[in-house]
Symmetry: C2
Subunit: 186 residues, 2 copies
């Protein structure tokens, strides 16, 4: 078992709405992998869908095309170094979980693993769209299960009580921003 708590599917868009960097994990035929992806967003509320860009040259792409499944995880600041490693090394060069120090956990609805220590994880099944995949490297997935660390997300709300637990936004070249302070407009 893991430390994540289930998030109702109709609230799962909230995990990705603020534009955090993601980890994309995948598994097929006894292999599993994880990469970083900044280009991910919600695409619908209910049933919840996501869109994510997966480069054609990656092992992740091969595993997702073979399995039709992936998990989007939302890493936290304490994992920034591992996220960068996941984005700069290839699963073709060795086991990415060994290379990055990220740990896989069994998911509930898909074969791709959750990633330990993240703020949240979204289990997704690919909605096949060959044109988008081939022309734009764009994958659309339906979210079939969602999880969050109750220390940072509960009752449909984010609450970042420590800097280490804040989610991340990727810029380039090893530079991220942490998710900053709340701004409320009434």
């Amino acid at each position: 078992m893991h430390h994540y708590a289930a998030v109702p599917l109709d609230k799962s868009y909230l995990l990705l709405n603020h534009g955090p960097v993601t980890l994309v994990s995948s598994a097929a035929a006894g292999r599993q992998n994880v990469m970083a992806a900044a280009w991910a967003m919600p695409l619908d509320f209910s049933p919840p869908k996501v869109a994510v860009v997966i480069d054609a040259q990656t092992l992740t792409r091969e595993l997702i095309e073979a399995s039709g499944e992936f998990v989007l995880s939302i890493p936290v600041r304490a994992q920034a170094e591992r996220v960068l490693a996941a984005g700069s090394q290839s699963g073709r060069d060795g086991d990415k979980f060994v290379l990055t120090g990220l740990s896989p956990l069994a998911a509930s609805q898909v074969g791709a693993p959750l990633i330990a220590g993240c703020a949240a994880c979204l289990e997704c099944k690919v909605l096949p769209e060959a044109h988008n995949q081939q022309r734009y490297d764009l994958f659309i997935g339906e979210v079939v299960a969602a999880w969050a660390d109750p220390a940072v997300f509960s009752q449909g709300r984010w609450h970042f009580d420590t800097d280490a637990a804040r989610t991340l936004h990727y810029v380039a070249g090893g530079a991220f921003f942490a998710t900053g302070e709340p701004v409320a407009v009434s």
Copy 2:
């Protein structure tokens, strides 16, 4: 003229990479409009492309489908109230620029306006994808010009020197996060 400085097209993805909330502006047949969109992301580096979700019921959708053009602007914290207004009112109920207090500025390559006072603006031409537009409300655009406020973005880098100038990340229900502190991994 406006206060924005041109951003090279091959650096324009940096304006959207960290997942900020956007304003989508549009114009057609003598009408113009602006709405808020949290579901926007880069889709390619060069030529730069973006993906954005535009609900079928919106006036923005009508104007973009008529013109084949839109502008994505990246608002700042000082504009949070106006962004929320742009996201909660419809251009069918009145001039959104009057309703929100946001100010349009002439763009260079498209008829849709830039928005004054933002961190950055991306002028986009729609790459027609009828299936995505109809099934997912998903629009893909090629970025044909990009602009940034040199006070917050220059030489390919963000530098938020004041809290009011930070970009925003939308959660829900009038709640945003400001873009937080830089996290560098070497």
